[in-house]
């Protein structure tokens, strides 16, 4: 007679790494979300031909249809936010836990309330909640390599938080990827802003800060403070990234490569009509080299695009 013993079943979770377990849970949730989005878009017919007449009944129907789609998409996102929050709570401290939290924060809807005062109050409350949540993230993840994600999404931070947290991370984080991110993202935001100002004049700053043209002229005449070129500090940070963090990966590129691109970016004059197109040496997605100059002799449409 053979005796069969029940073998204890070894749980797959008991011995696995919490980071891995969290990543798997996160990937499963992402797949659910993608599937739900796909189901939503498949349930919709393609949009009808757009009528030329903006006041026509077709046009009104078209707008209503777009609004309805946008509402459905919003409902879908709202239904997923608690799931991302729950996953983040369960795996707080891991990379996937932080990624889920940042997803939930960045997807949170702006309040849409007709009454302006109420709407402003609701927006303030939303910002306060995000500030509180990001404080919590910093507390938990300050020493973690995963906080690079917060630096990347530092638009979620208030100006003070951003200066305080990213300043501390660039000095104190034990992880090179975090220090690099804390240097790179603020510099990149400042540069985009300078580029916008270069293109659209200083209208932007005046409107945002409520400075009138007269105030600005008066300040210039008074010459109270010598103007410091903001590029000096930014360029020093970019050089630091090249020198110290050149090989640290950033998405599919490196902090060094991107910093170098910023430092050597073509000016608006160089990219003006009737100027020779600067050479591009790059690769396709499989790593095969492509040069823009190999298309000389042909008319080229150079199309910067993304599938989003």
């Amino acid at each position: 007679m053979v005796l069969l013993f029940m073998l204890p079943v070894v749980g797959t979770t008991a011995c696995s790494d919490p980071e891995e377990e969290a990543s798997e849970a996160f990937a499963a949730l992402e797949a659910d979300y993608e599937a739900a989005r796909e189901a939503l878009s498949e349930a919709q017919d393609s949009l009808p031909e757009l009528s030329e007449d903006p006041d026509s009944a077709e046009m009104a129907a078209y707008r209503a249809l777009l609004q309805e789609r946008s509402d459905r998409s919003r409902d879908l996102i709202n239904s997923f936010i608690p799931r991302y929050e729950a996953l983040s709570g369960e795996y707080w401290g891991t990379g996937a836990g932080l990624e889920a939290k940042l997803w939930a924060l960045s997807m949170a809807d702006r309040p849409r309330i007709e009454d302006e005062e109420e709407s402003q109050a609701a927006e303030k409350a939303r910002e306060a909640k995000i500030a509180e949540e990001t404080d919590g993230i910093f507390e938990e993840y300050a020493e973690s390599p995963h906080i690079e994600m917060l630096a990347e999404q530092s638009y979620l931070l208030t100006e003070e938080q951003s200066e305080d947290y990213l300043g501390r991370l660039r000095e104190n984080s034990p992880h090179a990827n975090v220090r690099a991110a804390a240097i790179y993202y603020p510099a990149s935001r400042k540069l985009s802003r300078l580029r916008m100002e270069e293109m659209y004049g200083d209208l932007l700053t005046r409107e945002e800060e409520g400075i009138s043209e007269e105030d600005e002229e008066a300040a210039e005449d008074g010459g109270t403070e010598p103007e410091v070129d903001p590029r000096i500090a930014i360029d020093a940070d970019l050089q630091l990234l090249i020198d110290e963090y050149g090989d640290i990966p950033m998405d599919g590129s490196t902090y060094g490569a991107v910093a170098y691109a910023y430092l050597t970016a073509h000016s608006a004059e160089e990219l003006a009509i009737d100027q020779p197109a600067p050479e591009i040496v790059g690769t396709d997605v499989d790593g095969n080299e492509i040069r823009l100059s190999q298309f000389l002799g042909k008319v080229v449409v150079l199309d910067f695009w993304g599938d989003w």
């Binding site: 998405d251 599919g252 009737d274 997605v285 042909k298 008319v299």
Partner: protein, 99 residues
């Protein structure tokens, strides 16, 4: 976006014309788009993000952004889309043939 580009590429298949992409998607999304949208034209891959080195170097912070370049490598058009893009391309092809 894609249908217009595809029709431009197929209409000018026999002409000295090429559409060259600079793509900012993560590699997997990009490969999937190539297959799904049947993208046949050459494309730089810019490291998987809108912070990629080519976009950065060219000061691109809005997508899509278009530059039209003639057969001698001179920038002749920017941000023309749809029919306006087709017109410039046709003019440049004419010009090239000494029209």
């Amino acid at each position: 976006m894609y249908p217009h580009e595809r029709s431009l590429v197929s209409r000018l298949a026999e002409e000295p014309f090429v559409l060259v992409g600079v793509n900012s998607d993560p590699a997997d999304d990009y490969r999937e788009a190539i297959e799904r949208e049947n993208i046949t034209w050459p494309s730089f891959w810019d490291g998987g993000s809108t912070d990629g080195p080519i976009s950065t170097k060219w000061g691109v912070f809005g997508w899509p952004t278009i530059f039209i370049i003639d057969h001698e490598g001179i920038i002749r058009g920017k941000n023309a889309r749809g029919e306006a893009m087709d017109e410039i391309v046709d003019e440049l092809l004419e010009e090239m043939k000494g029209g």
